[in-house]
Amino acid sequence: MKNHQEKIRNSLKKRHARERRFRLYGLLSVSVSILFLLLLLTDIVSKGLPAFTETRIKLDITLDPQQLGLGDHPDRDALFHANYSRLITETLKKMFPDAKTRKQRRDLKQLVSKSAAYDLRDAVLANPSLLGTTQSFWFLAKDDVDQYMKGRIDRTLPESQRRLKDYQLAWIDRLLAENRLEKRFNKTFFTASDSREPEQAGIRGAFVGSVLTLLVTLALSFPIGVLAAIYLEEFAPQNNRWVDLIEVNINNLAAVPSIVFGLLGLAVFIGFFGVPRSAPLAGGLVLTLMTLPTIIITSRAVIKAVPQSIREAALALGASKTQVAFGHVLPLALPGILTGTIIGMAQALGETAPLLLIGMVAFVADVPHGIFDPSTALPVQIFLWADSPERAFVERTSAAIIVLLTFLIAMNGLAVFMRKKYEKKW
């Protein structure tokens, strides 16, 4: 007896040591993953944060009707088509008479964004009585000026290696001295769609495209997936060869690379059924194919976990199979099913490859108004911007990633919330 106790005591020492070691390993792996996550986040945030501010330039513009080429009583149409960009150029020339050569004059125009002319036009259209007066406008600055303001252009470098020449820097210095340059919150990024000009580019179109695509995906994959799971778990004959075959196939589908779904979507939905290319409908259909296996597999697991005793209780009271499935099993499984669905949706949100194949990679400067309009999606927009040479697109890429991640975190948070809120104990 004593011998036994001694043995146990000795082995206990070893067991405790092993436990401590294991805990250490666990802690280590958690730390490593947190480290990687932090690295990723700090990189993205530090790159992306500047994109949330933009630079604006204040110009005092005399809205001379003559210079705009307008008559005495111009109608709306004339106001719309007047040459506002020349007015801006003239104002700049007057401010900086030192711009002599043709190249310098062209660069002078490059201080403000092309959107300035539209802003001016919209102001005049909204209030024609401005004509003949002198007004101050805060126009969007060109991306190079913006980059300089954010410290991304090093003026100590030799002139040939910078995006801005010495004389351009001198203009910027003068504007700064006159308090005509200001950094503001970048509303454009959230209200505009994609643009060739980085300072005018925003994620609104991609965001709306993603939301529409996800709505299509949800509307299709949730009912189909849940009904399929209920059928397979509650109604399908057990140990049947066909059911086994279906099960194997669903599991296989979950592992098929997404690009294959893209090809399938291109051939079937667009090629055969004539769904419009680049449309959220096409994207949603393809992503439905991808998320269905996820939803079916998680839903089946959750449905399986509903205690058999609940089914028996209802059956013994004279409930039919359908009443048991929809009155007892589904409500109990719903929180888990919703969690699975949201995780599937989150996957779909980040999916890029299949969308590239069905043409959601096209340059779309409009916000889509429906599921038939051409559109892009957030991850595709990130892909597009990451591929652009302009520096200003680098920070926009990271900013778009931040928006995407926020969206994802919100969705996953919703999943956790739903699980906590509706989880039932039995």
Binding site: P237, Q238, N239, P307, S309, I310, R311, E312, A313, A314, L315, A316, L317, G318, A319, S320, Q323, H328, L332, K424, K425, W426
Partner: protein
């Protein structure tokens, strides 16, 4: 250690007793069960079964059982674990239909009507033959909704007032009303085990079945809750026909009119409860009720 813990027991005497028991068992197992002894049939039965065979896959679980359950009587089914009591009970409301591998053969009649006939609807049958399970299984709903579930399902109450009345009456008959009357809208799963089981009984009698099947309804309960439910069974047998599976001989003796002893898928002996417990006819039955087997 064991011998030290029981200082009064003489080890040699015990092993002798054990040996005797083993021999008895071996002798008992050699006795073949060809025919049920006692009186498996009654006049004007509520349920009658003939030549019942049940298989799980290829494995037989019930072998040629014929048995009647008398009207407004309590039939107790006893026997060692795995002998097929639950399987037989579940045949009576076709709960075995839900087990894909289970195959049921034989003739089952409720009031002379074949319950396995092709046109028979198991849903209707289960509203006539209610069941209470071994493990209390209230729905994760309020106490009220638990009892009201079946009533709503079958549309038995015309309006809310009538439903309230049925719920209250059922809870009263199950002896639970006074304990829960202020908490009717709290979850049924929050009750104690014994209360949950009485809730399940209330739920079953709320739809007013003709027969109630109970599979070890008190096996998870303390003596007080058990006594309450036993009282309830005796009371219910005035209006209902009850079949109960139990491992407690005392319970069988207390509540039942007739007792059936099952052994390895066969029905060994059926008789009036007093006769089974005083003068068992089959050696297997005797071994079991005297505690030498099972």
């Amino acid at each position: 250690m064991t011998t030290e813990a029981l200082p009064n027991t003489d080890p040699s005497a015990e092993s002798a007793a054990l040996q005797q028991a083993r021999e008895n068992n071996r002798a008992a197992l050699d006795v073949t069960v060809d025919k049920t002894v006692g009186q498996p049939f009654v006049e004007n039965p509520k349920i009658s079964t003939r030549h019942v065979h049940v298989f799980y896959g290829d494995k037989p679980a019930i072998k040629d059982i014929s048995l009647d359950i008398g009207r407004n009587q309590v039939l107790a089914m006893i026997g060692p674990s795995g002998c097929g009591k639950s399987t037989f009970l579940r045949c009576l409301n076709r709960m075995n239909d839900t087990i894909p591998t289970c195959r049921v053969e034989g003739d089952f009649r409720l009031d002379g009507e074949d319950i396995y006939a092709p046109g028979q609807d198991p849903v209707l049958l289960r509203s006539r033959v209610g069941m209470v399970f071994q493990k209390p299984n209230p729905f994760p709903k309020s106490i009220y909704d638990n009892v009201a579930y079946g009533v709503r399902l079958h549309g038995l109450a015309k309006n809310r007032a009538e439903l309230d009345e049925i719920v209250e009456k059922s809870l009263r008959r199950a002896g639970l009303f006074d304990e829960v009357k202020d908490d009717l809208h709290k979850p049924g799963t929050g009750l104690s085990g014994g209360q949950q089981q009485r809730l399940c009984i209330a739920r079953t009698i709320a739809i007013d079945p003709e027969v109630i099947l109970m599979d070890e309804p008190t096996s998870a309960l303390d003596p007080i809750a058990t006594a309450l439910i036993e009282e309830l069974m005796i009371e219910l047998s005035e209006n209902y026909t009850i079949a109960i599976v139990t491992h407690s001989m005392q319970q069988a003796a207390r509540v039942s009119n007739r007792t059936a002893y099952f052994h390895m898928g066969k029905l060994v002996e059926v008789n009036d409860t007093d006769r089974i417990f005083t003068t068992p006819q089959h050696p297997l039955t005797e071994n079991y009720i005297t505690g030498r087997f099972g």
